[in-house]
């Protein structure tokens, strides 16, 4: 499958989950393809990094569901800040644990999961759609009922994958990628390398095979597909490039120039432009 075929699953108004964490192993090739496809009115669900920033800057995100949005080495995501401060997007601001439980509930096909996270905080005020549930047992505690966060489409990026849809992370953190896949009607996976199934254990133990083919509906070969976020052990974050990206939030002209150079081009041209 190509990037273009994969993002064709996304139509205007859909809810799109994006795996990874902050500026770490983000499916950026898919994000770039979403920009080229021009789909709009999207609800983006993400432990947010530049994926969220870019889709805010292009105006394709109408709503963002997040626990945080950060570039890690640059604490605050400048394009996301612009969008929030201009009131351009609807925000669903959750605690990171609440966020996880929403995906978990969807993955388990439950209507909600209870938690204490959120109680007493302004999340309960700023997100009036959240309701509480009383424990049916003798304790009678009132808990937050985190609604299932269903996704129309989820995108993840892996270090290795086979063509059947088995995916492998070789870094030190799986993040919540399998939950994104299981919460979604369709999950699309890109990978640094596509390898034969028989070679999946060449570089990592069986513990690294958290993504299996039941979870994934399409596989795309996308070397550098997480760039400029980190994707160890294949590559670290491109900090210089990330700085350039952050600087593009300065004004409309800076963004248009950055976008013209890095987004209004094919993935192959992008990879050529950022090659060192």
């Amino acid at each position: 499958m190509t990037l273009e075929e994969a993002v064709a699953e996304v139509r205007d108004g859909m809810t799109v989950g994006i795996g990874g964490w902050g500026s770490r192993r983000k499916p950026m090739a898919f994000v770039r393809a979403l920009v080229r496809a021009g789909v709009k009115d999207l609800t983006i669900v993400s432990y947010g990094g530049p994926d969220v920033g870019i889709l805010c800057a292009t105006g394709q995100a109408r709503k963002v569901v997040y626990g945080f949005v950060s570039l890690d080495s640059i604490a605050l995501e400048p394009h996301f800040r612009n969008a929030r401060q201009s009131g351009a997007i609807e925000a669903v601001s959750l605690d990171e644990g609440m966020f996880r439980l929403g995906l978990q509930a969807a993955a388990w096909r439950l209507p909600f999961l209870p938690t204490r996270a959120g109680l007493g905080s302004d999340v309960m005020i700023n997100q009036p759609q959240l309701r509480t549930v009383k424990s049916p047992y003798d304790d009678g505690e009132e808990l937050v009922a985190i609604p299932a966060q269903r996704l129309d489409v989820a995108f993840i990026h892996m270090n290795r994958a086979d063509t059947a849809g088995n995916g492998q992370y070789l870094g030190r953190d799986p993040y919540m990628d399998e939950l994104f896949c299981m919460a979604a009607d369709k999950a699309l996976m890109s990978a640094e390398k596509i390898i034969p199934t028989a070679n999946l254990l060449d570089e990592g133990t069986f513990h690294t095979l958290k993504i299996n083919r039941m979870m994934v509906h399409g596989v795309v070969h996308a070397p550098g597909g997480a760039h400029f976020t980190e994707c160890p052990p294949d590559y670290e974050r491109d900090e210089a490039f990330q700085k350039e990206y952050a600087a593009s939030a300065k004004d409309a002209a800076a963004w248009e120039a950055w976008k013209a150079k890095y987004l209004d081009v094919s993935e192959a041209e992008y990879q050529k432009a950022v090659a060192k």
């Binding site: 964490w21 947010g48 997040y66 626990g67 945080f68 949005v69 950060s70 604490a75 605050l76 996301f80 800040r81 929030r84 401060q85 201009s86 009131g87 925000a91 601001s93 959750l94 605690d95 990171e96 644990g97 609440m98 996880r100 938690t115 204490r116 996270a117 959120g118 109680l119 007493g120 905080s121 302004d122 999340v123 700023n126 304790d139 009678g140 505690e141 009132e142 808990l143 030190r172 953190d173 799986p174 993040y175 919540m176």
Partner: protein
Amino acid sequence: MSSENQAVTRADVCAVAVAECFRGDGEIMISPMSPVSKLGAMLARATFEPDIVMTDGANMILAENVPFGADGSKAVIEGWMPFPFVFDTLFWGKRHVMMGGSQVDQYGNQNLAYLGGSFKQPKVQLLGVRGAPGNTICHTTSYFLGDHNPRVLVPKVDCVAGVGYDRAAKLHPASRARHEIRRVITNLAVLDFETPDHRMRLRSVHPGVSVEDVQAATGFELVIPSDVPTSREPTAEELRVLRELDPKGIAAREVKS
């Protein structure tokens, strides 16, 4: 060791106050979110709290302290703590986090989400609430603030991310059973909530800082005991450990002088 390395700095006092904040915690995960917090946690581990569990700041639990600037790649890994398991540990409650905050108020509510305006259109968007709501309700939380001033220590935060005592008091007893805002450590003082109504109290002032200095730098009225002690300085042994853990004085950059 040269003589200037022996002089006690404000950052040293802060690190000792951080370490003291973890005293008695035992075998739980300590999650420091800044250099001073990390230095203090490593000091506690190197001295009186050897059992505390700490990661490399990412996903590996390290069996030993790694000094700032040192190559940590050879450090002994004793466990794995990827993000999914951080949430399990957090909900379990075996954790004490020391966060920062753009605002902290008199009941220990903390904000790192946004400043000014409204939730729909904030004047300044910050990180989002991150893990603060869950942290504060599920386990002990403390704060380190390197620049104690009235814009940070405010009567009321713009958005309650970390839950303070006034908010927690309204919850079911089981919901607040693990809620504890233990300390707020700043570049000027150590504060706590050990008062009948859990309003912020001045616990100690750092050497060279007066009670009046602290009150003047605070945007609300502190509970001030009649006798406010001076924050403890490091012992000779602690000072040696601090210089070993932070030879270039990286933590001091976070402490406004």
